[in-house]
Structure formats: structure tokens, C-alpha cells
């Protein structure tokens, strides 16, 4: 009985929304808003056969490549800057400015520098995802607990061991926050770099459908994009839970004690 109630809670509103969409669009013949049944059949026709491999996989591959590079560069530079107050004071204003540039304007810039191709798109994603990871690593590295830092010094833990066991550990919640921000910016950049200039990829395909007034196909492309967004966020949450298991345990206990369970 409890499981049934849970199911209603989780699925009730989404099902109601899709039914409402269907009820509103099924009767009349609205060109721009096809009923969900049409979108679903188009989805299978267009994406499951072929396009998924040709358009979606390369897009996601570029996103992951850019994100991985941004992670390596961001954490590396972030540790370098975050560990020394003096270095931080030198770089802070310059970083404030670079971070404030909205990443999408880099699409035309990179188009100029790297031409149309995989390299340009990966560069755009890298340069957009770098800042949230870098700045959060700096924040994390500088807020290492002083007592822990002194303890490490007393026990003679230095160099790589200190960075690995103390600094990276202490900074990991912040770094994960940075990656989450980078992920959502990365998806945006993946799509718009393909919409701005490309001959393949998910963004290009969606724009192509829109320009050709293939409305159900366009909607199905939007569904694919949404699915990628949701899937990546689910995967990320699993990874975060594992990486931060040591951190979330105590926090959850604190919450359970402090806040009434609702």
C-alpha cells in the first residue's frame, strides 16, 4: 500500500501533465504543438534508427572530452592558485573578469581561431567549463580546516601525500559543485556550438528540422536533448554520492536531527 502511494506521488504529476498535453493537442490540429503520441512515434522513427549513432554520440563525446580537459586543467590550476594566498591575490581580479565573460560569446571567437570542427567545439566546451571548476577548486583549497592542516604538518605529511589526502579531500565537495555547474554550461555550449556552425550533431539537426518546418521531428530532437540533460544529471548525482560518501554521511545525520522530517 505504501509502495502504491509512493508510485502515485512520483508518477502522478508527470502522467497528469502528459495527459493534459495530449488532451489539449489531440482534438485540434495545431501545427506547432503536435500531440505527444506523434512526437513519440517520430522519436522512434528519427532517432532510434541511425541518427542516435550519427548525431547524438559524437555530440556527447565532444561534451565529455571538453569536460574531462576542463576538470584536469581546472583542478590543477585551482590547487596551484588556491594553496598560496599570495598567488591567489595576484590572480583573483583577472579571474573575476575572465569568469564574468558569458561562455557562449566564445563560440564565434573559437570559430575564428579553430575553424569549424571537433577541435573548435571541444575548445568552446573546455573554455566554458574551466571557470566554475577552477574557481570552486580555489575556494575549496583555501578553506582547508586549519587544525587538519596543522595535524598533517605535525605528522610530517607533505608534498603529494598532503595534496592527495588533505587538500583534494577537503576541496572535493566544492570541486563537485564546480563540476555540476560546468555540466549544465557544457550542455548549453555543446548545443549552441553546433547550432552556430556545424554540419552534424544534435544542435545542428534540431535547427535543421526547425528551418524545414518538420515540427514533430523538431520536438523529438528537443526530447533527445532533454533526455541527455536528465541522464547526465542522474549519472552525476550517483558519482557525487560515491565520491562524497564520507562527507554526506555526517551531514545527513545532522539534518535528520536538526530538521523535522517532512
Amino acid at each position: 500500500m505504501r509502495a502504491a502511494a509512493r508510485l502515485v506521488r512520483v508518477l502522478g504529476l508527470p502522467v497528469a501533465l502528459v495527459l493534459a498535453w495530449w488532451a489539449v493537442t489531440a482534438g485540434e490540429d495545431n501545427f506547432y504543438f503536435p500531440p505527444p503520441t506523434t512526437v513519440a512515434t517520430t522519436f522512434v522513427d528519427v532517432w532510434v534508427s541511425g541518427r542516435l549513432l550519427d548525431d547524438v554520440l559524437p555530440s556527447v563525446g565532444r561534451l565529455l572530452a571538453g569536460l574531462a580537459l576542463a576538470l584536469a586543467a581546472g583542478v590543477g590550476l585551482g590547487l596551484l592558485i588556491g594553496l598560496s594566498p599570495r598567488v591567489r591575490a595576484v590572480f583573483e581580479p583577472a579571474l573575476e573578469f575572465l569568469r564574468a565573460i558569458p561562455p557562449p560569446v566564445l563560440v564565434p571567437v573559437m570559430l575564428l581561431v579553430a575553424g569549424v570542427g571537433d577541435r573548435m567545439k571541444i575548445l568552446v566546451i573546455l573554455s566554458g567549463c574551466l571557470w566554475p571548476i577552477l574557481l570552486n577548486t580555489v575556494e575549496g583549497a583555501r578553506s582547508v580546516d586549519e587544525v587538519l592542516g596543522d595535524t598533517c604538518r605535525c605528522y610530517g605529511i607533505q608534498g603529494a601525500a598532503r595534496i592527495r589526502h588533505l587538500v583534494l579531500r577537503a576541496a572535493s565537495p566544492q570541486i563537485m559543485t564546480g563540476i555540476r555547474q560546468a555540466l549544465s554550461i557544457g550542455i548549453i555550449l555543446m548545443v549552441i556550438s553546433e547550432m552556430f556552425a556545424a554540419s552534424s550533431g544534435l544542435g545542428f539537426a534540431i535547427l535543421q528540422f526547425q528551418r524545414g518546418f518538420q515540427i514533430p521531428e523538431m520536438w523529438s530532437g528537443m526530447v533527445v536533448l532533454s533526455l541527455i540533460g536528465v541522464t547526465l544529471s542522474v549519472i552525476f548525482r550517483q558519482v557525487e554520492r560515491r565520491v562524497l560518501a564520507w562527507h554526506q554521511g555526517p551531514r545527513k545525520r545532522e539534518r535528520a536531527e536538526g530538521v523535522r522530517d517532512a
Binding site: 564574468a100 558569458p102 560569446v105 552556430f196
Partner: protein, 264 residues
């Protein structure tokens, strides 16, 4: 928490200025020494001169005004809607349980997914971009308001009830002050997102604003002007950040976390 800082404010300003100067010199020297082709990256002085030329024309300021208007309109609509809905959903446990899955599914949908739809509805009108901004900002604020509304101290809540405060008064005097720091965090995140999405919309859809000017400069080969406009967007970004942080300090001046920042 006490933080390690490098010296007094004056020393830090000197350090920071050195950093900016080094960045400038690097961008000046790289093209001049031929490390990067000049047609890809003009020297920093040429970029700033191009920005100056742009800034003396009326078209530039109209574009800036359009971008700011797009972002601000979208942000305002999203903020009001998200705060109202978030307070209602957040303070009713049943509603929160019912909407949780829907919020979690809709939130990660990238705003750019809506581009084709808004283009068909509104064309290159400013409304296209405003819709994107509203969608992107709404979730940022809503999530924070929901966190905040759940965070209410049970003792404060029960005390308010014992003293006979009604639903509305409890919302006003207990839930709202608890949620306010979260609301402001949401606003800060959403303000950055608003600028990013406004520029994105202008770049791709061609609605009026700085993003469109950048796209035009790029396709017409006006490289220094394009970089100049990119620098201009960065400056607007800095202003937005500084403005929101100032607002945060004013609105939350009573909050312990902010009070602790001011040295006694």
C-alpha cells in the same frame, strides 16, 4: 572562519593590479611576437581601442540596453514566479512530495532546447530570448526557495504556532526569513544565468543585443571589434556580480553569516 589573506588591502590591490597587468601584457605580446596570428587574436591595445570606438557610437549603447532589458525582464518574471510557487510548494509537504519528480526531470532540460520553439512562436523578437531567460532562471531560484522553505527550524515553527500565529503570519515571520538567504543565493545564480542566456539567445536567434553584434562582427571579419564586444560582455558580467553581491550584503545585513564578515 578566519581566513589566511596575503597582507593588508593595499598590498592585495597591488597584487591584483599586477595580475591584471600581466594578463594585459601577455595578450599584447603574444600576437606582436607572432606566437598567435594577429588576425586571430589582435594585440590587447587594439582590442581596447576597438572597444573605445564602439563605445562612442549610439548603436553599442542601444545593444547594451537591449541585452540588459532582456536579461532583467526575464529574471524579474522568473524570480517572482519561482518565489511565489516555491513558498507554496515548500511549506506544504504533500505538494512537495507530488512535485519533486517533475521538478527533477524538468530542471536539467537545457534552456537552449527551447530555441527552435521560441523562434517559431516569436521569430527574432526580443520575446524569444526573454522566454529562454525565464525558463533558465526559474529553476535556479525555485530549487533554492524549496531548500530554504524546508530548512525552517522546527522549534521556531512550533513556537510560532504556540503563540497562535496563523498560516500567513508563520509564512511571513518564520518561513520567509529562513528562506531569504537561499532566495538571495538563487537570485545571484540566476542573475549570472540571465546574462549568459540573453547573450546566447541574441547570438543564435538574432534578437537585438550585444550577442547579435558579436555574431555580426564575427561574420563580417571585424576581429578587433568582436574581441572588444567580448570584453564589454565581461565588464557587464563583473558589474552584475558586484551588484548582486552588494544587494546580498544589504538584504541579509541581519544574518549571522553576513554579520560575521564585518570585523568587530
Amino acid at each position: 572562519m578566519r581566513e589566511r589573506q596575503a597582507g593588508d588591502p593595499v598590498t592585495r590591490t597591488v597584487y591584483g593590479a599586477t595580475g591584471l597587468l600581466v594578463l594585459f601584457l601577455l595578450l599584447e605580446a603574444a600576437p606582436r611576437l607572432g606566437l598567435v596570428p594577429e588576425r586571430y587574436l589582435p594585440p590587447a591595445s587594439r582590442i581596447l581601442r576597438a572597444l573605445w570606438t564602439e563605445a562612442s557610437g549610439a548603436g553599442f549603447w542601444r545593444a547594451v540596453a537591449d541585452t540588459v532589458r532582456t536579461g532583467a525582464t526575464g529574471l524579474a518574471i522568473a524570480f517572482c514566479a519561482a518565489v511565489a510557487l516555491g513558498m507554496i510548494i515548500g511549506s506544504v509537504p504533500l505538494l512537495r512530495a507530488m512535485t519533486n519528480s517533475t521538478v527533477e526531470v524538468l530542471r536539467p532540460i537545457p534552456s537552449v532546447a527551447l530555441i527552435p520553439l521560441v523562434v517559431l512562436q516569436f521569430g527574432t523578437d526580443i520575446r524569444s530570448t526573454v522566454v529562454l531567460v525565464v525558463y533558465a532562471c526559474f529553476w535556479q531560484v525555485l530549487i533554492q526557495v524549496l531548500y530554504g522553505a524546508v530548512d525552517v527550524d522546527p522549534v521556531a515553527h512550533d513556537t510560532a504556532r504556540s503563540y497562535g500565529l496563523g498560516t500567513w503570519a508563520r509564512l511571513r515571520h518564520v518561513t520567509w526569513p529562513t528562506a531569504l538567504p537561499y532566495v538571495i543565493t538563487g537570485l545571484r545564480l540566476a542573475a549570472t544565468v540571465a546574462l549568459i542566456v540573453s547573450i546566447t539567445g541574441e547570438l543564435l536567434i538574432g534578437s537585438p543585443g550585444l550577442g547579435r553584434e558579436i555574431a555580426v562582427a564575427q561574420s563580417s571579419g571585424a576581429v578587433p571589434a568582436m574581441y572588444g564586444l567580448v570584453v564589454a560582455t565581461g565588464m557587464i558580467g563583473v558589474l552584475v556580480n558586484v551588484g548582486v553581491r552588494g544587494l546580498e550584503r544589504r538584504v541579509l545585513a541581519w544574518h549571522p553569516a553576513v554579520r560575521a564578515e564585518i570585523p568587530a
